[in-house]
């Protein structure tokens, strides 16, 4: 089985500052890969590298096709949806317009059916349909960001700290929906998460990133048992 996403020896940085020093990473088709690490380790940069938002070198391939160095909009059109930190919703536009933008590049006739599916996952968005996205609560905005990303009908979903700044109950909600999405749509997920417990429960593969290098990698359940990870990130 070939990987959905494969990074090989990926370097990336901003201007003169190098952030990633040779990352190798895999997301299986329909699988969930978690990326753990402290602040500044390069997790967000790894996601940005995948969708061409930073200058990178090395090999990045999506289902065997090289995507490294391509413009962000082309990578999105190939089925990579990114929910960035700061969520990437269009604050000035309504929920409806955000939905329409999520499906912007799609030509098929099932867009409206997918709108309904999103209402099934996130009923609150239906109530907020004509409201400006900037006026939604933090949890609703995260839901909107995920819905917007799913409306692309992605093969790969990149999630940057979906739990950030949200109440525990809402985080539970969102991860429940993500599990459902994964089961129903077979989308592969690469998730960056501060909450390592949460991420390892959700993922089947995990990587620990330290100052731009992968220091531990393996199946999520093994990572959970790893001394170093446990002490630094799980806190027991």
């Amino acid at each position: 089985m070939s990987a959905l996403l494969e990074l090989r020896d990926v370097h990336a940085g901003y201007g003169q500052t190098r952030v990633l020093h040779g990352i190798d990473l895999v997301v299986d088709p329909g699988g969930v890969t978690a990326l753990l690490g402290a602040n500044g380790a390069g997790k967000t940069t790894t996601l940005r590298a995948v969708c061409g938002m930073v200058r990178t070198s090395g090999d990045i391939s999506l289902a065997g096709e090289p995507i490294q160095g391509r413009p962000t909009e082309d990578i999105a059109r190939r089925g990579v949806a990114h929910v960035p930190d700061g969520r990437g919703t269009f604050m000035e536009l309504t929920v409806e317009e955000n939905f329409r933008l999520g499906a912007f590049v799609r030509q098929d006739k099932e867009v409206h059916a997918d709108f309904e599916r999103m209402f099934g996952y996130f009923p609150r968005l239906k109530q907020r349909w004509r409201q400006q996205a900037g006026t939604l609560s933090g949890g609703e905005q995260q839901m909107l960001a995920i819905a917007r990303a799913l409306l692309l009908r992605p093969r790969l979903l990149l999630l940057d700290e979906p739990s950030f700044g949200l109440a525990p109950l809402i985080v539970q909600d969102i991860f429940g929906i993500l599990r459902q999405v994964r089961a129903e749509q077979g989308v592969g997920i690469l998730i960056v998460e501060q909450n390592a417990n949460l991420a390892l429960d959700f993922a089947d593969r995990a990587y620990l990133l330290e100052t731009g290098r992968i220091v531990v990698s393996g199946p999520a359940h093994e990572i959970r048992e790893d001394e170093q990870v446990r002490r630094s990130y799980l806190g027991y």
Partner: protein, 290 residues
């Protein structure tokens, strides 16, 4: 009373022209945060194209539509060739490009079409003023054209997929790329649309002020005043601001300062807005972190 009503209506008619140019300015400002100082000269150039086509024997409205298409193309071309390479350049470098564009257009017009003042035809009835002398046929016709154009632009941005994509690209370029929108092309389309709207303004005002290379100089100033008054980042506000400036200019010119000092009113409005309410009537306050 008759005089006041007449000035009011004339103000609305020229206000429509300012509103169109203000809208063109705001469209480019929203997506790039630069003011296109060459917007007026581009519009004048388009008006010359229209005159050339009409003199070549094309029916007025055919020439009108052809001019819009050509202007749109010129706008897209300028964005691709001149502004694209400048997207990461400093503000001052961009201002330099805009002023350069202004000079290139103005002198090219003098060179190609010469500097003499030319009459420009109007498609509307120029005979007896309508409604008891209140409004001329051209004022009524040009206001109608302007309103239709503004309406179409609204419908385009509000209800079409492409319009939504262009708005998204203007608000949030990086998120737009993440949903697959080709942001660069959206900016180019915005330039094309702004150029076409400017062309309409030029064609509609030319019969009133006569065509010469500096035709839009004063109008651009009024349009700036209108855009600032309404809010430089709010298209609807800029349109309303344009109409307001037209009315203020006409009433002020007739009853307050006289026609010689009318342009001062525009500059006065700009200064007042910047002093009292820099975001304009409908602009939003942008908080930026430092």
């Amino acid at each position: 009373m008759q005089g006041l009503a007449h000035q009011l209506i004339a103000g609305i008619a020229t206000g429509g022209i300012y509103a169109s140019v203000a809208l063109a300015l705001v469209m480019i400002y929203q997506s790039t945060h630069h003011l296109n100082f060459a917007q007026g000269e581009m519009a004048t150039f388009s008006t010359y194209i229209a005159l050339t086509l009409i003199q070549a024997g094309l029916p007025y409205w055919v020439a009108f539509l052809a001019t819009l298409v050509i202007s749109f193309g010129i706008g897209v071309f300028i964005e691709r060739i001149m502004l694209r390479p400048m997207q990461n350049a400093s503000v001052l470098a961009n201002v330099g490009v805009f002023i350069g564009l202004l000079l290139v257009f103005r002198n090219a017009m003098g060179w190609i079409f010469d500097y003499t003042i030319k009459a420009f035809p109007t498609p509307f009835d120029t005979g007896t003023p309508l409604f008891g002398g209140l409004v001329s046929g051209h004022e009524l016709g040009s206001t109608a054209v302007t309103l239709v154009v503004l309406g179409l632009v609204y419908v385009f941005f509000r209800f079409t997929k492409l319009g939504l994509g262009m708005r998204a690209a203007a608000f949030n370029a990086s998120s737009s790329r993440l949903v697959g929108i080709r942001v660069g092309w959206m900016l180019a389309l915005g330039w094309g649309l702004a150029a076409a709207i400017g062309a309409i303004a030029g064609i509609m005002i030319a019969p009133v002020v006569f065509l010469e290379p500096n035709m839009m100089l004063g109008i651009l100033l009024y349009a700036f005043a209108g855009a600032l008054l309404g809010g430089i980042d709010n298209p609807g506000g800029a349109v309303l601001g344009g109409f307001l400036v037209g009315i203020i200019e006409n009433l002020g010119g007739a009853y307050l300062v006289g026609t010689e000092l009318k342009l001062t009113l525009a500059l006065g409005i700009i200064i007042c807005v910047l002093l009292v309410r820099p975001t304009g009537l409908f602009g939003r306050v942008v908080q930026s972190r430092v």
